[in-house]
Symmetry: C2
Subunit: 224 residues, 2 copies
Amino acid sequence: MTRTHFHQELQNLRDKMMGMGGTAERALDLSIRAYWQRDIQLCKMVHQGESIINASERKIDELVLDLLAMQQPMAVDLRLLLAISKCIGDLERIGDQAVNIAQRVEDLITQPQVNLPIDLPQMATLARTMLRRALDAFAIADAAEAEAVLKLDDELDAMNRDAFVAVESSVKDNPQWARSALDILIISRNLERIGDHATNIAEDVIFWVSGADVRHDAAFYERL
Amino acid sequence: MTRTHFHQELQNLRDKMMGMGGTAERALDLSIRAYWQRDIQLCKMVHQGESIINASERKIDELVLDLLAMQQPMAVDLRLLLAISKCIGDLERIGDQAVNIAQRVEDLITQPQVNLPIDLPQMATLARTMLRRALDAFAIADAAEAEAVLKLDDELDAMNRDAFVAVESSVKDNPQWARSALDILIISRNLERIGDHATNIAEDVIFWVSGADVRHDAAFYERL
C-alpha cells in the first residue's frame, strides 16, 4: 500500500465513522420523537437502528486494525486511528442509550399521560447539538470546537439535576404518577449520558489534534 | 527496541492496566461501603480515587501509542494493544460510576433512613464479580471466562429492573421517601452500568483472544 493509498483508506475510514455518527444521531432523534409522539412504531425503528450501529462498529474496528497492521502510521495518523477506535465505542453506546430511551417510552405509552415540568425534547436538542459539534470537530480536526462541546456538558448536567428535583416533587404530590415519573427520570439520565459520550468524542479530538499538533501540519490539512 | 524488550514493555503495560483495574475495584467497594455505612469520609475517598484512575488512563494511553509508534506489532499484539486501549476507557468510566454512587450517598445521608426491598450491596457484589472475572480473563487470555461474564450481566439487569418496580411501589406507598428512593434507583442504575463496562472489558478479551487465536499460539502463552 502506497502512502497515498494509505491516506485514501484513512479518509474512507473517517467517512465511515461520520456515517456511523449520523446513524447514532438519527437513533437519538427517533427515540425522542417516539417520546414526544408516544409512538411505538418509532420505538421499533430505534431498535432496528441498533444492529446497524453495532455492525458499523465491528467493521470500522477491523479497518483500524488492518490499517495499523499493514502500515506503520506516523504519529498524527496513529493518534487518529486510536481516536477513531475510541470514538466508535462512544457512538455505539449512544445507540444503546437511544434504545434505553425507546424502552422507557414503550413503558410510558402503557400509562396515562403525566404533566411534569421537565423538557426532555430540549435536553435531547442539547445532547444532539453536542454530538453534532463533536463530530464536526472530528471532521475538521478542530480542538477549539471540541473544547466548546465540553462546556455544553455542564448545561446538560444541570438540566439533569433539575429533572431529579422535579421528579421528586412530582411523585410527592402525585404518587400515582410514580411509574411515568421514574421513566422520565431515566430518560433524562440517558440524555445526560449521551452528552457524556459526546464529551468523550470531543476529548478524542483533542487527544488527536493537540497531541499530534496537526494544527501545524500543512500536509494533514491538504488531505482534509 | 528488540522483540524481547517489546514484549517486556507489553507485559509492563498489562501490569499497569491490571493495577488500574484494582483501583477501579476499590472505588466500587468504597462507594458501596459508603452507602452501607452512611459514611461521608468513604465518599471523599471515592472522589480522591477518581484522579488516580484518570491519570492511569492517560499514562497507559500514551504507552499504547509509544508501543504502536516504535514497533510494528504482530496481529496478536496489535489486537492486545487495541483491547487495552478500549479496556482502560471502561475502567475509567467505572471510576466515574463509583463517583456518581458516592454523590447519591452524600445526598442520602442528608435524608432520614428508608427501608426499601432493594439489596444494593448484593448488586454491587455481582458487579464486582463481573469486573474481577473480566480482568482475570484479560490476565490469562481466556475467552471462555470472558463469555461467563456476559451471562452474569443478564442477572444484574434483572436486579436493576426489580429495583425499578420496588422504587415505584415504595414511592406510591410512602411519597415522603421519594428523594431517597430516587437516589437508590440511580445507584442501582450506576451498578448496572458498571456491569455493562465489565461486559465491554470481557468483549475486548474475546476480540483480542479469538480474533488473534492466541489459544493456539504457544509462544504467546510462554510470555504470560
